[in-house]
């Protein structure tokens, strides 16, 4: 029933229940909510009180409205309203005949079609129509199109959901025949979901449909029709692709993607259709090696079998010719030069043997020359041409080449022949191969441990020898060298192709290496064969390569070139895994034409125009939300949540809503607001500036940092006890990041594994020192550190020198006896730490600079470890060798250093105190 155009109600009799709302209102009004119950000791006093107000408790008005709204929404939901209801299907009562084009061209917008089918079945269900489904393409099983039986909409929904687009065209002629075989129906509503491509059978088919009932043809929106990618045409240096679109109106653009076997994208080329043009061209220019790896070209975003072109060995086939210089091959095959090469190539490649002259007549991708000594000039010239066209020439060394090679080698060979190791009379052992470098085509191949080379020919050392070397022996001599000739390659194996010179030919590595070399070459056209080629992998309707369906059958080798894709032979690869032929949908297919006209009396519709919104689920969801609100309200009114205040009530309501509507769970603002962010800690800069603190440089080594910290804590305790210095907790600073200017003294333990300070860091440290800071460097390794450049030393000393060198310090001298440090608090003569004996270096006293105060103190005695205490004031590390007496000195040194840092040369002035006092007195 349509109420006012945009809204329809499917079960209007439910609306009668709205009349019951006043009853609910009355019931709710007279039933007060249950009181909360409380225990109360002073009950007797309460019992004496006669309530003043005798008005009965009532349900609050807002709760009343909420509950009435809830009831009304439930009733409305049960009435099942629809927004924008669709027009009714055809005449009332008749069945729905759903004809679906499920050929390749329907796949591009398949989801639209599925949606349309589901909507149609839904409507049929609502209108109580039985449904017949007729797909027009040959089934995957090879059966001709056949109409389903008359079924209920519920069953039809499952059937419709199972229809998938095929990778072959529709067969409307066969579908027409299927209509004839269908049981007689009349007054049907016929909806034809066409794929938009016209053919000779379209008009008769539609006219036949018209005899069954009212026909609607659903067509794609303009520009959404499937496009067809043609196999590329050979063009030197580039693949040229043509893409056809059915409609020739308006400009359109797209991309062609070229991908490899493993799905990597190699190239992406522009496709542009101009107005009025049905075809567009794309050029893919790639180096031959990369081009050879392309196995698949597709129009980006077009998920149809027609938008995919598979490339096969016709684009990559590599026939190999093997030439041998020896004539005794047939008698002793196992000693033959070419035997191992042939055995290695045979399983994967088309192999031809013969003389060089014969082989050059054929179309080959690679020519193997196994120990052919010297080539004539003409042969060399023709091989050169062969290579320039992209061929690969692979030469093996051997006794003949060792005697003297011609010029057709990638590197200059030494004329004195080869070298041999591991013979009966030599000391040298046969050599193994080293791992292939990454720039070698053999990179990644695993080298078996038993491959040994006994003899080889040697390359003359040259500038470009290293670049041309693909493989080396373990002593570094090149074993395989190669040189680029035009498009092709010249490859030389410096050992023979027989087991006499090396064990390489009888290893698995040999086969893999040959494969790699073959892969470098350019493929050549196919030679015809007539053996049947079974399907290897086929495209499904969406253009994805899948295992072939059971119904796909083999194709004769002779007819594959003219094969048109069908259910029996879907597009895909045929043949064997290694030598496969591609069958593309575009092979022999006429250019697609769009359906422009439909016969008169037939309605046209387009996909995606159905905007029916079923309001029932939304209403039910709203009812559930209201129910939860009511539940929470009831709980609050009953006093079951006595401590609940309003914000948390809101949070609870929000929580309930989140539970009901996952969509709302994304942003519960109340909850988010209820959890304030953790307070930021106090400003570290303020922290560092408000108290005088010692700092230590964090080395990144946790143990060292811990010792530094514990040492400075211990020193701070001593300072507090013995001196007037009141020092805060020490701070670990990141020398590269933290602000340094707050600290009078930094303790910097040097570790060998510390990261090398960057110039910026050095600049910061320099600024710190120039600003009056003092750094106590500690190499912590017990022994004299010598700052001079020449002296060697431990890695720690080297690292320290790296830090000191750019700091622009004054000359460093061992601490003189009368230095201020020796009497800034205690009188000291030695400065031990955990260790003792190491000299302590300071800047030479220059009165002009920094008031004569050294800005660095450098030593190796691991002072922090001597100062370090645990929480109870116990010392953590023993002082060696002096024990506690030495520790006391170490602590005194620490006190002196802090005093020095804080007071500078004040104590140096103390020597003049008598004179000053004398002057004052006078």
């Amino acid at each position: 029933m349509s109420l006012f155009g945009a809204l329809a109600v499917l079960s209007p009799w439910w609306l009668a229940a709205l009349a019951g709302l006043p009853i609910i209102y009355w019931l709710l009004r007279v039933t007060p909510p249950a009181p909360r119950r409380l225990h109360f000791p002073a009950i007797r006093i309460l019992q004496d009180i006669v309530p003043k107000e005798e008005t009965p408790a009532q349900t609050p008005l807002w709760l009343l409205i909420l509950r009435l709204l809830l009831a009304a929404i439930v009733i409305l939901a049960l009435a099942h309203p629809l927004l924008n209801p669709p027009a009714q299907l055809g005449a009332a009562g008749g069945p729905l005949l759903l004809v679906v084009d499920d050929g390749w061209a329907a796949a591009r917008r398949w989801s639209d079609r599925q949606e349309a089918m589901a909507t149609l079945v839904d409507r049929a269900e609502r209108e109580g129509r039985p449904v017949i489904v007729l797909p027009t393409a040959t089934a995957t099983t090879g059966e001709a199109p056949r109409a389903s039986r008359l079924m209920r909409a519920v069953d039809a929904r499952a059937l419709v959901g199972a229809i998938e687009p095929k990778s072959w065209p529709v067969d409307r002629a066969a579908a027409l025949a299927a209509l004839g075989a269908m049981p007689e129906i009349a007054q049907a509503a016929v909806v034809y979901l066409a794929d938009g491509l016209d053919d000779a059978a379209f008009v008769p088919f539609v006219e036949r449909l018209q005899r069954l009932g009212e026909v609607t043809v659903m067509l794609d929106q303009p520009g959404a029709l499937a496009r067809l990618l043609q196999p590329p045409v050979s063009d030197p240096g580039a693949l040229v692709l043509t893409a056809l679109r059915p409609e020739a109106t308006g400009p359109a653009a797209g991309f062609v993607r070229a991908t490899t076997e493993d799905g990597r994208l190699l190239a992406r080329a522009d496709l542009r259709w101009t107005d009025g043009q049905a075809s567009a061209q794309a050029r893919i220019e790639l180096p031959a090696e990369l081009r050879n790896r392309i196995t698949r070209l597709e129009i980006e975003g077009d998920t149809t079998a027609g938008a995919v072109v598979l490339l096969d060995e016709r684009w990559r086939r590599r026939p190999v010719g093997v030439v041998s210089g020896a004539t005794t091959e047939r008698q002793q095959p196992l000693l033959s030069d070419s035997f191992y090469v042939e055995r290695a190539l045979q399983p994967y490649n088309e192999l031809h043997t013969g003389t060089l002259a014969d082989l050059l007549q054929r179309e080959l991708a690679m020519i193997v020359l196994s120990d052919v000594g010297r080539l004539g000039d003409s042969e060399r010239a023709s091989l050169e041409t062969f290579m320039r066209r992209g061929g690969v020439v692979m030469r093996f060394a051997g006794p003949r080449m060792a005697d003297g090679a011609d010029a057709l080698v990638p590197v200059q060979l030494r004329t004195d022949g080869g070298r041999a190791f591991g013979g009966a009379m030599t000391w040298a052992q046969p050599l193994a191969l080293t791992a292939f470098t990454t720039n070698s085509p053999f990179a990644g191949l695993e080298i078996p441990g038993d491959v040994r080379v006994m003899r080889q020919v040697l390359a003359e050392p040259g500038l470009d020898l290293a670049d041309r070397t693909w493989a080396r022996l373990s002593d570094g001599t090149p074993l395989i060298t190669a040189d680029r000739h035009g498009e092709g390659w010249l490859v030389l194996i410096h050992t023979a192709a027989t087991p006499e010179w090396s064990t390489l030919p009888i290893s698995g590595l040999f086969v893999e290496m040959l494969q790699r070399v073959v892969a470098l070459s350019q493929g050549v056209g196919a030679a015809g064969g007539d053996q049947p080629l079974p399907p290897v992998a086929t495209l499904d309707g969406f253009g994805r390569l899948q295992p072939p369906p059971a119904s796909a059958s083999a194709v004769g080798g002779g007819e594959i070139a003219q094969l048109r894709a069908s259910a029996r032979n879907p597009p895909g690869y045929y043949g064997t895994e290694t030598a496969r032929r591609a069958v593309n949908l575009a092979n022999g297919m006429a250019p697609p034409r769009p359906i422009r006209e439909v016969p008169p009396g037939i309605a046209r519709a387009s996909f995606g125009s159905d905007r029916t919104v079923d309001l029932k689920p939304w209403l039910l969801a709203a009812a559930i939300v209201l129910l939860l609100v009511d539940l929470v309200a009831s709980i609050v009114l009953r006093g079951l949540l006595p401590r609940l205040r309003m914000p948390s009530t809101a949070a609870l309501v929000a929580l309930a809503l989140c539970g009901a509507l996952p969509a709302l769970a994304q942003a519960p603002p109340t909850l988010r607001g209820a959890q304030p962010q953790a307070q930021q800690s106090a400003d570290p800069l303020l922290n560092a500036a408000l108290t005088t603190r010692l700092a230590y440089v964090q080395t990144g080594n946790g143990e060292v940092d811990q010792v530094s910290r514990a040492g400075l804590v211990g020193l701070g305790q001593v300072l507090a006890r013995r001196t007037a210095v009141d020092i805060g907790q020490p701070i670990g600073v990141d020398i590269a990041e933290d602000e340094l200017s707050f600290y009078p003294l930094m303790y910097w333990p040097i570790t060998a594994d510390a990261t090398r300070p960057t110039p910026q860091v050095i600049q910061r440290v320099g600024a710190f020192l120039r600003g009056g800071g003092l750094i106590l460097f500690d190499t912590r390794e017990a022994g004299a550190f010598v700052p001079s450049q020449a002296a060697g030393g431990s890695p720690v000393a080297l690292r320290l020198r790296e830090i000191l060198r750019p700091l622009n310090l004054g000359a460093l001298v061992p601490m003189p006896n009368e230095h201020v440090l020796t009497r800034s608090f205690y009188l000291l003569r030695e400065f031990p730490g955990r260790w003792t004996g190491g000299a302590v270096w300071v800047e030479q006293n220059q009165d002009r600079i920094n008031d004569g105060v050294s800005s660095v103190i450098i030593g190796a005695n691991d002072w922090a470890a001597a100062w370090a205490t645990d929480g109870q004031g116990r010392h953590l590390y023993p002082a060696v060798p002096g024990g506690e007496a030495q520790r006391e000195l170490a602590i005194r040194f620490g006190v002196n250093v802090v005093m020095y840092a804080l007071t500078g040369n004040y104590k140096a002035d103390q020597v003049h105190i008598e004179a000053i006092m004398e002057r004052l007195r006078r």
Binding site: P32, P33, P35, R36, R37, L38, H39, F40, P41, A42, I43, R44, I45, L46, Q47, D48, I49, P51, K52, E53, T55, P56, A57, L637, G639
Partner: protein, 303 residues
């Protein structure tokens, strides 16, 4: 008691809470004792204790004229309190005491137990003898008595809402601690039954703040804790003022009952510190009703 608890379990339960209660009582008692000098203090006795300056309110009969004549000012003569007294304490262990209006407050019974035990601790420390009314226990003296009292208090969890009319020896003092929410005539009868023998006494009413203020609202059904029935109040906020007035009346009636027999009346709310109540109680015991003043409020309760 609901079911006979296994002996061991009940013993463990007791030993678990006992030290805590004793410690709390001792702590409260100590705070008060330091303030008033528990032992060796002025009281009724023969031995001279001290002269002190006459102050307004001192009885003229207590002026030591010889001493006054010697000096320029008027002095009174004070004697040391010698007699050891027996204090009989009763505390309400009825169901209505085991209630609190919020988790932040102690139950009334817990506060009453604490006050009882702390008072006993204070008395024992001062050399007095103490006994519990309702237990046929002879008055105890000495430090060890405290633990025994604590054990008895914790063990008797149920009792009547008013003190029994046990015969008490003359010249003893009685201390009654409870919520006294029973009807006033019943309370009057119970107190008179004790007071007729010439016994001085002190009534300490322990209440929960919610009992004074009735801080509830909305439609509420109140239920008694001692099977008194229930009361359905449609809108509690509308009867609040009435209730507060009636509660104050009840309290005033209670004070009148106490005053009629010469007893002191004190009240204590569980949201106030126990030390304050104990101090008031102790002062009343030491100096009689005049130490408290006519109002009788211990801690801010309306007179």
């Amino acid at each position: 008691m609901t079911a006979p608890m296994p002996l061991r379990q009940s013993a463990e339960e007791l030993s678990g809470t006992l030290p805590a209660l004793v410690v709390a009582a001792e702590r409260v008692a100590m705070t008060v004792a330091q303030g008033v000098h528990g032992r060796r203090r002025v009281g009724q006795g023969e031995a001279f204790w001290q002269f002190r300056r006459y102050e307004a309110g001192d009885s003229i009969t207590r002026i030591d004229w010889r001493q006054t004549a010697k000096r320029e000012r008027v002095f009174v003569r004070e004697t040391e309190w010698e007699a050891s007294q027996t204090i009989y304490v009763w505390r309400d262990a009825s169901a209505s005491m085991r209630w609190r209006s919020s988790a932040a407050l102690p139950e009334k019974s817990a506060r009453a137990d604490l006050l009882t035990l702390a008072l006993i601790a204070l008395l024992v420390r001062g050399g007095e003898r103490a006994a519990l009314i309702g237990e046929d226990q002879r008055p105890s003296i000495g430090r060890g008595a405290l633990a025994r009292f604590a054990e008895r208090i914790l063990r008797s969890k149920d009792g009547p809402g008013l003190p029994p009319s046990t015969p008490l020896p003359r010249h003893a003092q009685a201390v009654l601690i409870g919520d006294f929410l029973s009807p006033l005539p019943q309370i009057d009868a119970a107190i008179r039954a004790i007071a007729t023998r010439g016994i001085a006494g002190h009534v300490m009413q322990v209440t929960d703040p919610a009992e004074e203020n009735l801080p509830y609202s909305g439609r509420t059904r109140f239920e008694g804790l001692e099977h008194e029935g229930d009361a359905l109040i449609p809108r509690v906020e509308s009867v609040r003022a009435d209730y507060q007035r009636r509660f104050a009346d009840h309290r005033a009636g209670l004070a009148d009952i106490a005053r009629a027999v010469g007893w002191t009346y004190m009240s204590h709310r569980t949201d106030r510190p126990a030390e304050l109540a104990l101090l008031t109680l102790y002062l009343a015991l030491a100096h009689g009703p005049e130490a408290i003043g006519p109002g009788g409020g211990a801690d801010g309760a309306p007179a």
